[in-house]
Amino acid sequence: MSDVLRIENLGHSYGKFKVIEDISLSIGKGEMSALIGPNGAGKTTFYNAISGHFPPTKGKVFLNGEEITGLTSHKVVDKGMCRSFQITNIFSELTVLENVIAPLIIQRGKHFKIYGNIFKDKQIVDSAMQTLEQVGLSDRADQVVANLAYGDKRLVEMAIVLARKPSVVLLDEPTAGMNPEETENMIALIKKLATGSGTTFFITEHDMKVVFSLAEKIYVLHQGHLLAQGSPEQIRSNEQVQEAYLGRKVHA
């Protein structure tokens, strides 16, 4: 029962169209795992169903031993799981610092406080700055996010997700749309954040290179089903996986 995130027989359909089916997995504390699959495999749907974007049509989700199936997004966050989106999801016209302070205000239950200056709350500002330090944005704290480069906007979302120090972090294609240099930096950043932090990272990717360089454990999603799971070596040598679509890439 030391699993941080456990998923039992999860399934989701849009109408009659079954996108994912019968997915079961469990992730231990501090693990760095990845869900891979080509575009359209159902990765985002899987995230949406476990993070409260919509309830799954089948199955159960447990976070730190507690069932969270079907809870709405803000309750899932309160339970300790926070996510990023494939398409950058941030507060564009606010400053970088405000982007990170907003989650902290909510976490400390100050979001209904209608007086006072939050920037004078040393605890919150320090905590926000510490998170910005982690992702390398502390020198841009006062900039309006809309004016940042694309890669930096993705970092802002990372900071938003990390701000509340969730026990589980879900990242939906964290390198989507990034150039090779930004991708490399992002991988390095996730590695740095994951090692020794005790935070459980679960990312989705369609880019194999990214996954094999990052994850300790890989889940392969194929046509809505979990085709295989295991260490990068196990996945690389799994015949089913090779047949399905890793194919030539791995042989080569």
Binding site: N89, F91, I106, I114, G116
Partner: protein
């Protein structure tokens, strides 16, 4: 220029000007200025929703009218305490806004505008048709205005000058409170919801509840403006709740600028100025307001005040 860019310079000058204005202008103009301040308070309250939370409410007249009727009914029943009138007016509007908000905040954009418009029309119909209580289309006249005992002197408000300073003081308090709210932690979350309500929800915020609270606060201050208008007007009429009245804070905020705190107040000023000027030439002032509105929206994308302010601040940054 440097002084202009100080964040307190503008508001300080404005306050002094508003304090001195009645000494320099005619009684008629002083009355217009009172009305501008009342509508300015309504518009700033409205803009808490549009500019800060990203919700276009088209039913603010309901809460304005509720404040007004509350005051008229209490005065007719003999309640003469000014502060009680203001407080009860605010409270009733707050409660009504909680209910309307509860049903409305699930919707977004045009659908939110439509449902609030619908509620507004509902309130208007009640005010218009419930003869026994509201006096129907005639409205509720107020014969005795409350007075205020200030340091031993009994102030009455039949004199337009006294009325102006009453309006000025209450609007000032209301605007300062709204400023504090906008700059509070709650205010930051409102702006975050305006930017991206999904993200707020995915960092743990209950968007519906936050919106209901924003709607209720906006309603309360709109009700406060309504109480003042009832006193100023010596009357509460169903017209306060008419949809065309609800359109006023929308137009004022867009003219002045929704992105600046005081923008809607300036919008109210411009609105009344235009009305005064246009009425000199034609009866049909709404038509000409429309004609003036179009270039304003095109040439001042952030409102007149918003665009000018941005110019000043940007030049300073160079």
């Amino acid at each position: 220029m440097k002084l202009l860019r100080n964040r307190w310079f503008g508001p300080a000058v404005l306050t002094v000007l508003l304090l001195l204005a009645p000494l320099l202008i005619s009684t008629y103009s002083t009355m217009i200025l009172s009305e501008i301040l009342i509508m300015g308070l309504m518009a700033i309250s409205f803009n808490l929703l549009l500019g800060y939370t990203g919700l276009l409410s088209f039913g603010q007249g309901a809460f304005f009218g509720l404040g007004g009727y509350c005051a008229a009914l209490m005065l007719q029943a003999g309640y003469q305490n000014l502060f009680l009138l203001l407080l009860v007016g605010m409270l009733i509007s707050l409660l009504a806004a909680l209910v309307v908000g509860f049903f409305s905040v699930r919707l977004d954009e045009i659908f939110f505008a439509m449902i609030t418009l619908g509620f507004g029309m509902l309130f208007f119909s009640v005010a218009h048709n419930w003869l026994d209580v509201t006096g129907g289309s005639d409205g509720l006249p107020v014969f005795v205005l409350p007075s205020l005992n200030l340091f031993g002197t009994e102030l009455t408000f039949y004199d337009p000058l006294n009325m102006y300073y009453l309006v000025f003081s209450i609007v000032l308090v209301g605007v300062v409170l709204l400023w504090l709210i906008v700059h509070s932690p709650f205010g930051l979350i409102l702006k975050a919801m305006r930017e991206n309500k999904q993200r707020v929800s995915f960092v743990g915020g209950n968007v519906q509840l936050l919106r209901i609270v924003a709607f209720a606060i906006s309603g309360a201050f709109t009700g406060l403006a309504g109480v003042l208008f009832c006193l100023f007007n010596s009357m509460a009429t169903p017209e306060f709740m008419h949809w065309s009245f609800s359109a006023k804070p929308v137009i004022m905020s867009i003219i002045g600028g929704t992105g600046v705190f005081l923008g809607p107040l300036f919008g109210a000023g411009i609105f009344f100025l235009l009305e005064q000027v246009i009425i000199l030439f034609t009866e049909n002032w709404m038509l000409f307001l429309g004609i003036v509105l179009v270039p304003i929206v095109i040439f001042f994308p952030q409102g007149v005040f918003g665009t000018l302010r941005n110019k000043i601040f940007r030049e300073g940054a160079k």
